[in-house]
């Protein structure tokens, strides 16, 4: 009897009620699913957009069909794809370069007080300079489009990588280092087995922040200093008052961003699989 009582639950009036069958799908009702909620919100947004487009000029809120056509054009024409890929390649190259330099600087400052004394003030100074200033400087200094964009993205994202690496390096517990040192490892082994895994969570954080920042900065740089890329395509669309193209490019880039963030999250979950689930 006791086990029956335990398994039952009391109603508001104190009567015992036997538990019913487990709800399907992990105990959640269908309308509590995040996917359903996102779908509902998207439908409401699209419907509102379509209704609003009936009462406003196309250059304010274009019809959904026009936006769809523009997106199809982006994804199916060589011009659209080349602009998209040009931007994504610039982001990738810029972030990879900033990552490489930033990690080296961060490791140097984390490991060496003298290096930290010289490098960190410079990095913090660079971080304090408005991003748009770098765009203007790049346009004045460099003639080559790629060099301009590369320069801007490096200067804007490098401080994040360097400072995060520095912080992560310092956050590695001294106890772990002492433990490793007690076995007298080689410097390379110490780096590969203690330092690198120790700074990895911080590197993922830096990537997540810099991915969005990098894409935004490349767009701005392309707007003012490039003849190809999404930024340039947006500028052309703006000059033609083609709002459908502006929305289509923006949505395309946002989707690319979501895909990249998803890939990053997958890699992060795999790399940090040792952590308890609530710490990932």
């Amino acid at each position: 009897m006791t086990s029956d009582v335990k398994s039952a639950e009391r109603t508001r009036h104190g009567h015992l009620r036997r538990p019913g069958p487990e709800p399907a799908a992990g105990g959640r009702k269908w309308h509590e699913s995040a996917y359903v909620r996102i779908g509902v919100l998207a439908l409401i947004g699209l419907a509102s957009w379509q209704i609003a487009s009936q009462y406003t000029p196309d250059y304010i809120i274009p019809p959904l069909a026009d936006v769809g056509n523009s997106m199809r054009e982006i994804l199916t024409t060589s011009n659209g794809l080349s602009n998209l890929s040009a931007t994504l390649v610039r982001v990738a190259l810029g972030l990879a370069s900033a990552f490489a330099v930033g990690v080296v600087l961060g490791l140097a400052t984390g490991a060496n007080k003298t290096a930290a004394g010289y490098i960190l003030p410079v990095v913090r100074f660079i971080q304090g300079i408005p991003s748009l200033s770098w765009v203007v400087i790049a346009v004045i200094w460099f003639q080559g489009v790629e060099l301009r964009v590369w320069f801007v993205i490096i200067l804007v994202t490098l401080p994040g990588f360097a400072l995060q690496t520095d912080d992560s390096y310092r956050a590695i517990p001294a106890e772990l280092r002492d433990m490793a040192r007690s076995f007298r490892p080689s410097k390379w082994s110490m780096f590969r087995d203690v330092t690198l895994p120790g700074i990895t969570p911080g590197l993922f954080t830096a990537w997540k922040v810099n991915l969005g920042l990098g894409i935004r900065m490349v767009l701005v740089a392309e707007l003012v200093g490039a003849s190809t890329g999404v930024g340039n395509a947006l500028l052309t669309a703006q000059q033609l008052f083609n709002m459908a193209a502006v929305v289509a490019w923006t949505l395309t880039l946002a989707v690319c961003m979501l895909i990249l963030q998803g890939i990053s999250a997958l890699i992060e979950n795999y790399a940090l699989r040792y952590r308890p689930l609530n710490h990932r």
Partner: protein, 271 residues
């Protein structure tokens, strides 16, 4: 059982053969700025001895431990481990010395098995020897089946067992323990102490156990050194396995008296 009370900073030892000495401190002093952590400390530890070093907080135990480990040099005097200078010849001790710390200090990104392997990797043991050795030690320490668990999935006692396996897996000649059982509950600590002593005896290792637990100090090994600040040995007790619980209790009380005399209200674990 013998007990030798000594004048400050000095202890008279029986004649010994130098080749039999694993550790030899000779007139060692260590200053950190104006603070004297150790003053004129001399003692030797012989091969296959299991020695516990007990004292109140801040008496210089950890400084002595770190000097043996070679983490820093003495200000004056000489420290010799296996006849070599542990600070100047730091890498010479690779595979010869292993440490078990107070907390297990496992790499959180590695499984129990990988944490045992990492000690062997750091010590330069060939990779093809890791697997059998690690599995053997994990099994011996009661961790069979937990080799793929990450540290956060293990209890405190299990983590410390992994730490012991990591130390013994490199097959060191000298094992240094820094309050290795003090963070565990008494039941687990008691069991691990017993296993540790067996492993040391079976492997014919030399071990130095730093502790602030008097019961641990008088029950663990062949010899207990009592320290007072600044890093001076005030008692050197010879212990034998045949000692009864009553004899050990008497020794513990005597030690407590000595440490109280020297340091007033001693900050020491009476258990």
């Amino acid at each position: 059982m013998t007990m030798v009370s000594t004048p400050a900073g000095r202890i008279e030892h029986a004649a010994h053969q130098a080749s039999n000495d694993v550790a030899a401190f000779d007139g060692v002093s260590k200053l950190f700025g104006p603070v004297t952590a150790i003053d004129n400390l001399s003692f030797t530890i012989k091969k296959e001895q299991l020695v516990s070093v007990v004292g109140v907080t801040g008496c210089g135990k950890s400084t002595t431990f770190n000097l043996m480990l070679g983490l820093f040099p003495p200000t004056t005097g000489s420290v010799r481990i296996f006849g070599h200078d542990p600070y100047a010849e730091f890498t010479w001790y690779r595979k010869r010395v292993a440490v078990v710390f107070q907390d297990a200090r496992l790499l959180p990104w590695r499984t129990a098995y990988q944490n045992v392997c990492i000690g062997m990797k750091f010590a330069g043991i060939p990779r093809d020897e890791w697997r059998d050795c690690a599995m053997q030690w994990l099994e011996r320490l009661g961790l069979a089946g937990r080799e793929n668990s990450y540290p956060h999935q293990l209890s405190g006692g299990q983590r410390q067992r992994v730490s012991l396996a990591r130390a013994f897996a490199v097959d060191p000649e000298l094992i240094l323990c820094d309050e290795s059982f003090s963070a565990l509950d008494e039941v687990t600590a008691e069991r691990l102490r017993g296993e540790f002593v067996s492993l040391v005896r079976d492997g014919k290792k030399t071990a130095v156990v730093i502790t602030h637990n008097l019961t641990e100090a008088v029950s663990l090994g062949d010899r207990a050194l009592a320290m007072r600040s600044p890093g001076q040995i005030v008692a050197d007790l010879a212990l034998t396995p045949s000692m009864t619980a009553t004899e050990r209790d008497g020794l513990r009380s005597e030690l407590l008296g000595i440490l109280r005399d020297e340091d007033g209200a001693a900050e020491i674990d009476h258990e």
